[in-house]
């Protein structure tokens, strides 16, 4: 019902960016509208590229519990399978976070292990 961010990470290799941090959040936030529509049309969790803004694209993944993963990236020859794999690994790690009895669902994820694994997945699938 409410799309409160519970985890954010900057996975880029190059720290210098041509897009301000708040603009990227604006783009991602806006793209939630598209996710909300696509979620009900697709039976897949991975929703592929759902939005773009100038030369940036947004890919999305929605878990059965309607937790949404959004990835904003500069147009690049990402292979769909890699994006999908990346999201699947994030999903798996998110489930591990959920299994922690001390984690309150929909709470902000502060697990350093989760963060570490997300970065590892990005390294494996996005930074080739």
């Amino acid at each position: 019902i409410s799309d409160v961010p519970i985890y954010e990470a900057d996975l880029s290799v190059v720290k210098k960016k041509d897009i301000s941090e708040h603009l990227s959040q604006f783009i991602l936030h806006q793209s939630l509208d598209t996710v909300d529509e696509l979620v009900w049309r697709s039976s897949h969790m991975y929703l592929k590229t759902i939005d773009s803004f100038n030369n940036y694209s947004v890919s999305a993944y929605c878990t059965p519990g309607h937790i949404k993963f959004l990835l904003l990236y500069k147009n690049k020859n990402y292979i769909n399978d890699n994006l999908r794999s990346f999201f699947e690994i994030v999903h798996e790690n998110y489930i591990r976070v959920l299994l922690n009895p001390l984690y309150e669902p929909n709470g902000i994820i502060i697990s350093s292990l989760f963060d570490q694994n997300v970065h590892l997945a990005a390294k494996k699938f996005l930074h080739q």
Partner: protein
């Protein structure tokens, strides 16, 4: 093979050398669309993305369409440019899945394989929808399903490639009515353009092209659809609207149409370049009144026209987004619009869009958009002169960690600058929520239980966490306190308050996560239930599903009117009770602030609001939660007296604790407690008594000497000087005198001579100690009324006595039982005859003067009675024994002995009963089963005495005689009594008169058998006044003799003979007539000289026969 990577020769391109595009599939279809295609395609501008970082260009291309042949594909290594086929297109109008599966799929696969074999990756499949064809067939699937199939079969193997932004937007509107493109790889486009003319595009040209493209597509759609179709497809077209708006905006900014002053000369030059680059309008739209071309040209021509078109587009886009529920997108466009209004110096118009966007971001907790929008809002509010709103937004921004230190300081300074301005109207306050300024973290009380007496001092220390980036001087911090009186609640009494303490007196306030109100928490959880619907006829399951029962709660409209940023609703409470702390500088981070107050009125004080004032700006925390309270109490002075041990013992010194709670009374010099002495209780004054003085919280203590003065009637205890709300404690020793007249009742009960009553008393009290209460009246200095205190003492001993006989010699036994937990030392035991008959002598048989008596154990004392003349009929005795606790050292006072009085009656022995059993004549021993003779002789031991004078006594010829009844009873069933077992005899009242009775008994067992009991009763005639005591029925029906028999022994019901003898004894009397009575002789009057003797019985040869005959 990526052709764009090839270094290209600088050829001048002429359109004779058109890039080759091959066509496969349905050739007829292609021929039908070829004329339009060859005409229209060159008009579409293309983006040429060039390699090596060169800027992209917009170009127009023609192409040479040829039929697909495998020979056209280049051989390995052959890269001849002019004969190179850049793009391969497959055409089909298949709309039937069956046909697709049967032919088209195979054909496509072959085509793809050929392309793959030659490493050609740039291809396109075009599906043309034919409405006429569609109508002819009924089982046609929607076109999209064929598209999906083709996409699944062929496109998935393709790796995703970049596509034009426009293209992806078009893809989202996949229902464009005339054509669908499933794969468009841009490398071919760049190749195309590589061979095109090297036209440099001015900045903004791309924006113009996108804008025009979007509007043309939209116009085309509008041209072929009706209104309802358009409305239902907003989701697909709104992207184009938004994109066009965005592009127009950037053109406006580029050409200086948004600035306040209008475009400068440089802007105008740029505009002219762009307009020139647009070229002439296409002929087919040139004559229409409205066209995208005209719209763009007009928008770029003047500031006013731009504004009109931009606003039109923006509003249309926002409206469309809103109508399809894409609120976030609508807010994002709105935010751009707000930015435009701000540039146009129209902040009043910008505000609503900024508030709308901010509310959306706040609700979803997106931190950076919040910060960014809030910054814009601050500027807007500043321009609008909304001082309170601006200050509040500033305080939120000053505490926002997403901003730089400089930005935060700027906004903080804005607040401080305003606060330091002299106000127009003095006393006017600007009230802002405290949350963004500082947060209340914890609070702690001193004293830690948050309870203080009237006049006491209470400290409250709070931790405030300042959110400001710089130290802020606060004139005052005020806590508004609500006062209430709860008189009727026990929880508010002084006793409860002073005894119950909080764990540590620290209250923590949960850190608030504002400004991110997580709306999930406020929504109820889904209430889902399984639902089964069964057919009413056969109960089979019709439908099943899940129902959400609280859907009305979850789907109700969110409150849209309330704004999260408005400081309204924070009201400053003005109360009579405030805690204040002035001139505090709040450093960034945690600050300790201490409030100090002197308690005045008793009651409960609740901390309600926390305010901090900076000049005319007041930051207010409207509700302090969790609830924080402190209590002020007033207490009446009180005196408590309680024993130190569980129970007080009578007769020995016992410690009693006195507690004086001063309450509001101050103990002055000379104040004393006056105890009126109880007669049987002494207050023992020790040489040095000390009292402890505590504060009510028990934190401080001191001790003081206690002066005790005693007179006959009054004991006076001088209290040490003590302030109000203190406690004075001291101990005194008291002594309850045992067996004193006050104890008379108990003494009587203990000293009961009557055996029957004693028995009842034993049942009632068991092993409990007898208690006695002493009431002491105490006059306290704070009251005119006396306090009466009752102290209960327990008598540690229980005493019983018994008369023992040996022939005519008599003994008195006294048993002292220690019921207490203490061990005692007994000494100096005496038994005296209180009637003081000189003839009687009591000779003690106990030799030791000291005798320990341990807890829960007994000690026996025995005296022999001796007399020379006729003994008195009754004897009054007083037993006394000294006692002291065994463990203690020498006591300061001498203790009174313990006494016990009792009466012994009829103790003189009148009759001696002797029984003997003889074996049958001629036999040495008694045998089982053979009759033996029992000889009983009853001998009178004295002449006529006072005690003999009763109804049974008869006189004839100066000889006295009395009637006795004897009875032989064998309770152990060793003997069978044959014949009469009882009888009435007339006994001469004269010394040495003897009566003999002979009867037959049969031993039933072998061994040393005790003799049967012989009992003697006084036989009273029926005309006695007491005859009504026994009626005939009970006499006959009751098995046991209903007489006052001595002792507890029951007549043996198994002894048939014995029972029968009773019947025979009374059978002489007729039913309903008055009957004689039996009275047991007192124990002391009959001495059984044969008690305890035994007879040897040897077994007979055939005893088993006898067993049968007897049982």
């Amino acid at each position: 093979m990526d052709a764009s990577e090839e270094p290209l020769p600088p050829v001048i391109y002429t359109m004779e050398n058109k890039p080759i595009v091959t066509c496969a599939g349905d050739q007829n279809l292609f021929t039908s669309v070829y004329p339009t295609l060859s005409q229209q395609l060159p008009r579409e501008p293309m983006e040429w993305r060039r390699s090596y970082g060169r800027a992209p260009k917009m170009i127009h291309l023609e192409s040479n369409f040829v039929q697909f042949k495998e020979e056209l594909l280049p051989k390995e290594g052959n890269k001849a440019l002019l004969t190179f086929p850049f793009l391969h297109i497959y055409w089909t109008e298949c709309c039937d899945t069956e046909v697709y599966k049967a032919t088209v799929k195979d054909d496509l696969t072959k085509w793809q394989n050929v392309l793959k074999a030659h490493s050609s990756v740039d291809w396109l499949i075009v599906i043309v929808e034919n409405d006429a064809k569609k109508k002819n067939k009924t089982n046609i699937l929607p076109r999209t399903s064929i598209v999906d199939k083709i996409r699944n079969d062929f496109c998935n193997k393709q790796s995703d490639r970049r596509s034009l932004p426009l293209f992806s937007r078009c893809c989202s509107s996949s229902r464009t009515p005339w054509c669908s493109m499933t794969s468009w790889t841009p490398s071919s486009l760049s190749m195309w353009s590589t061979s095109g003319p090297g036209v440099s595009v001015p900045p903004g040209a791309l924006d113009c092209w996108v804008f025009l493209s979007c509007l043309e597509v939209l116009q085309r759609i509008e041209g072929c659809c009706d209104r309802t179709q358009i409305d239902s497809n907003i989701a697909h077209t709104v992207g184009l609207w938004s994109y066009a708006t965005e592009k127009l905006k950037s053109l406006g900014y580029l050409c200086g149409l948004v600035s306040e002053k209008g475009p400068n000369s440089e802007d105008l030059n740029r505009t002219v370049d762009l307009l020139a680059g647009l070229g002439a309008e296409r002929p087919e739209t040139a004559n229409t009144a409205q066209s995208p071309y005209k719209k763009l040209k007009e928008a770029l021509s003047s500031v006013e026209a731009f504004e009109k078109h931009y606003l039109d587009l923006s509003h249309a886009t926002i409206e469309m987004y809103t109508s399809i529920g894409r609120i976030r997108s609508a807010k994002f466009v709105g935010k751009d619009l707000a930015e435009f209004y701000m540039r146009k110096k129209a902040p009043q118009k910008a505000e609503i869009y900024l508030q709308g966007a901010l509310k959306n971001y706040l609700a979803e907790g997106w931190a950076l958009p919040i910060t960014h929008t809030r910054k814009q809002l601050a500027e807007c509010q500043k321009h609008l002169g909304q001082i309170e709103n601006y200050l509040q937004t500033s305080s939120l921004l000053a505490s926002d960690h997403h901003l730089t230190e400089e930005e935060r300081k700027h906004f903080c300074q804005e607040i401080l600058d305003f606060a330091s301005q002299p106000s127009d109207s003095p006393g006017h306050k600007i009230v802002l929520p405290m949350q963004s300024f500082a947060q209340l973290r914890d609070l702690h009380f001193d004293p830690s239980n948050a309870v203080v007496h009237v006049g006491g001092v209470l400290c409250i220390e709070i931790t405030m966490y300042s959110q400001m980036p710089v130290p802020v001087h606060v004139e005052q911090i005020v806590v508004n306190v609500h006062f209430s009186i709860e008189k009727n609640s026990y929880r508010k009494t002084a006793e409860w308050l002073t005894k119950h303490k909080m764990s540590n007196g620290i209250i923590n306030f949960p850190p608030e996560t504002a400004p991110f109100p997580v709306s999930q928490n406020s929504l109820p959880a889904l209430e889902l239930y399984e639902m089964f619907e069964r057919s009413p006829s056969d109960n089979s399951l019709n439908t099943t599903g899940i129902i959400c029962r609280n859907v009305h709660m979850l789907l109700r409209r969110q409150e849209s009117s309330s704004s999260l940023e408005m400081p309204s609703g924070v009201a400053l409470e003005e109360g009579a009770h405030v805690l204040r702390c002035s001139h505090v500088t709040l450093e960034p981070g945690a600050n300790q602030i201490t409030f100090r107050t002197q308690a005045k009125e008793p009651g409960t004080y609740t901390l309600r609001q926390l305010c901090a004032s900076v000049g005319s700006v007041w930051f207010v925390l409207p509700h302090i939660y969790p609830i924080v309270q402190y209590d002020v109490y007033s207490q009446e002075p009180q005196l408590h007296v309680e024993p130190l041990a569980d129970s007080l013992l009578a007769g020995i010194p016992q410690r009693v604790k006195f507690t004086v709670t001063t309450g509001h009374y101050t103990i002055k010099n000379g104040d004393s407690l006056q105890l009126s002495n109880a007669e049987a209780m002494l207050i023992l004054c020790q040489a040095e008594s000390r009292a402890m003085v505590y504060s009510n919280t028990r934190e401080q203590s001191s001790d003081a000497a206690l002066r005790i003065q005693s007179s006959d009637k009054v004991t006076s205890i001088s209290l040490p000087v003590a302030p109000a709300y203190h406690v004075i404690e001291f101990e005194l020793e008291v002594l309850s005198l045992p067996s004193a007249p006050a104890l008379g009742g108990e003494s009587d009960m203990l000293g009961m001579a009557e055996p029957h009553r004693k028995h009842k008393d034993k049942q009632k009290t068991g092993h409990c100690m007898v208690t006695t209460d002493h009431k002491v009246s105490i006059d306290c200095p704070w009251s005119i009324y006396s306090t009466v205190i009752a102290l209960t003492f327990s008598v540690p001993f229980r005493t019983t006595h018994a008369l023992l006989s040996s022939g005519t010699r008599k003994y008195v036994q006294v048993c002292v039982q220690n019921l207490s937990e203490l061990d005692f030392q007994l000494s100096d035991s005496y038994l005296v005859d209180t009637s003081d008959s000189t003839d009687l002598q009591l000779v003690p048989l106990n030799t030791q003067s000291q005798q320990p008596i341990y807890s829960k154990q007994s000690v026996f004392f025995v005296w022999e009675l001796k007399w020379t003349e006729e003994p008195p009929p009754s004897l009054h005795c007083r037993f006394s024994v000294g006692f002291s606790p065994a463990s203690e050292e020498q006591l300061s006072i001498s203790l009174k002995p313990y006494t016990y009085e009792f009466k012994v009656e009829n103790f003189f022995t009148l009759y001696n009963v002797k029984a003997e059993i003889f074996p049958p004549s001629g036999m040495e021993y008694c045998r089982t089963g053979s009759l033996c003779s029992l000889e009983v002789s009853i001998t009178r031991l004295s002449d006529l005495l006072e005690v003999d004078k009763d109804e049974a006594l008869t006189e004839s010829d100066e000889h006295f005689s009395t009637k006795l009844m004897y009875e032989v009873v064998d309770n152990s069933s060793n003997w069978a009594v044959c014949g009469k077992s009882c009888g009435v005899i007339s006994m001469p009242v004269a010394a040495r008169a003897t009566h003999r009775v002979h009867m037959e008994v049969m031993p039933l067992f072998a061994g040393y058998l005790p003799l049967p009991d012989v009992r003697l009763f006084k036989y009273l005639p029926h005309h006695s006044a007491h005859s009504s005591q026994l009626d005939a029925d009970s006499w006959i029906e009751n098995d046991s003799l209903s007489v006052d028999k001595h002792g507890d022994d029951q007549p043996d019901s198994s002894s048939l003979k014995s029972r029968g003898s009773v019947h025979s004894a009374c059978s002489s009397e007729h039913k309903g007539l008055p009957m004689p009575r039996l009275q047991a002789l007192p124990a002391g009057q009959v001495f059984n000289s044969s008690s305890g003797t035994q007879v040897l019985v040897i077994p007979s040869q055939d005893d088993h026969v006898l067993e049968v005959s007897v049982t």
